[in-house]
Amino acid sequence: MQTAIQLILTSLQIGAVYILFSLGLTLIFGVMRIVNFAHGHLFAVSALVVAYTVPWLADTGLPVLPAYLLAVIAGVAVAMVLGFLMYVFGFKYFQRDMVGSFILSIGLVLLLDGILLKTFGGAVRPVPEILPGTVTILGASVTVQRVALCAAAVIITAALYWALTRTKLGKALRAVSIDHEAAMLQGVPYNRMALAGFMIAAALAALAGALIAPISIVSPVIGADYLIKGFIAVIIGGLGSVPGAILGGLFVAAIETFGGFYLDPTSATIAIFVLVIVVLLVRPKGLLGHG
């Protein structure tokens, strides 16, 4: 029983980051009908800024927690500036153009790979422990940092869900996602919605990167692993579906955790890809996809 609880908690912790990551991907696809392979770099930039800023601020005498919170703000800000530049000089011209956006985002991946390596170096950056200690939940041991990450991810996801269902901006984004021409006929400014959707997605990736930095291996290539898992989560859940992204993120995390535990890490990775193939064969639009 304790093992099952430990695995469920692990799935939720890992799934929390996958959800934040895949929500951004699905939002961009829903609003702009494009896939952004450079999404992982927004995540990486934020994590790297946090990894560089926390030790620097801590060295000035600031306690670690305030240093981390300031670093999160800096990381999210830098990633959002990068996201804005990506949109204004790139994706703005390839909206609803799957092939064009595909080529553009692959080009951006190569460009940003080089820039990140040059700027931050390739080595892993250590981030000091922000919230030390472990807690026991139903007999399972979990670090306080991971509990905090989980709580933050739940709050962010809930806030996004509320904003998408209850606010004017959220309703406009959903309208554009369902039928952008009909939405425009109703007076919804499509271009502004596309920018808003892209920037919200950038913020989600940046927050995920900033949250994972203290408990992961921060290097310029950190985004690649999450990009693959994020895409798998979105495909399983259904491209463009917010509940689908949440479900897909949890699904991928559960398979990674339970598969890794009962089989071995390599088999768990294979199982995730097999699952994608099965879902695409049975439900090509994903479990909750409708577009």
Binding site: T10, I14, L117, A123, V124, P220, D225, E256
Partner: protein, 395 residues
Amino acid sequence: MSIVKSMKFVVLGAVFGVAGSVAGANAQEIIKLGLSIPLSGSGATWGKGSEFMCKEAASEINEAGGVKVGDVTYNFECVGYDNKYNAAEGTRVAQTLLNREGVKFIGGSLGTAPVKALQSLTERQGVMIFTTAWGSSIKGPDFPLTFTQMNTPFEILPQLIPYIHQAHPEAKTLAMLNPNDASGQETESVANGVWKKTGVEILSSDFYERGTTEFQPIAARLASMKPDIIDLGGMPPADAGAVLRELDSLGWKGVKVVEVGTGADGLKATGGDAVEGVYMGAGVTFDGPDVTDHQKKVNEDARAAIGESLNAIQIGFYDSVYALKAGIEAAKSIDPKEVAKVMPDVTFKTFYGGEIGFYGMDSYGSRQQMRLPVIVTQIQDGKLVEMARVVPDGK
């Protein structure tokens, strides 16, 4: 007047001609040493340190007068490219080094998968290669141009594992984890055999994919078996540190081994205090009484450049440059095939101190392995401490 003018031109031409030929005789030719190394990802520190050490040795040799072959003096120049520790990038780097840079000597290469990609070209194109990659499939009579510049699991593990077994006779069970690639599989294969000889029961031996950033499920599986020893084999320091951190949070306490672990700093970057007590087979200490001023200075320079102490992998890139100098001068040629022919018989200056040569007839059927000391280290109070040092014998 025209005769005088003509004479002036002749004299001027002769002066320039002589000056040119003298300058040509004194001009120092460049020998490029290609490096295929990871400069990004979890093995990046290894790659950066390797490039640093190649340049350090090249600079020392160049300042001391270069490499002499007859009347010609050659200087070394290190040219490194990022192989990202995978075969695909390794292939790209191999093409770049051999076909674009025109490299005839590989000063060092890191990662079995990218090295195999590189070796498939070097042996065919007559390029001599030094490598840290291990495995009996890398060297031997079938690969006459390949030489190994660091101890491999074949040299390290028969010394390291029995030492750990003797230090912890109460430890009876073991779980192993390695990267799922050529490096990891070769390490696992050797370690499995050596651990079995000690009588320790192997509960599991798993592989994970390089590039993994979330190690909690893997740590949960390892901890659930309650092994007395966890051996993280050939994992890069950042990955091994992350696993040890997760194991610590799950409450696992036992004997920690990173067989080709190279130092405390890389592990601590992701593992924090959880790396305390880790045994390693490729670490090098720089604070004992036997450490020379030269070793200390180079290590301090390296720390400033890459942020951590030097290790056996990186030192291999220093030793290979001196081995190449000795080989080229002994062969009196810069033809890689001629240099490779004499290389098994040359001795050269090693960073560890003294002169060493090559051996390996017993393990590989040819002398292509540098005879380097195997150093068993352990992290104690956050610092790397040397526990034992053995210079392997054999032909």
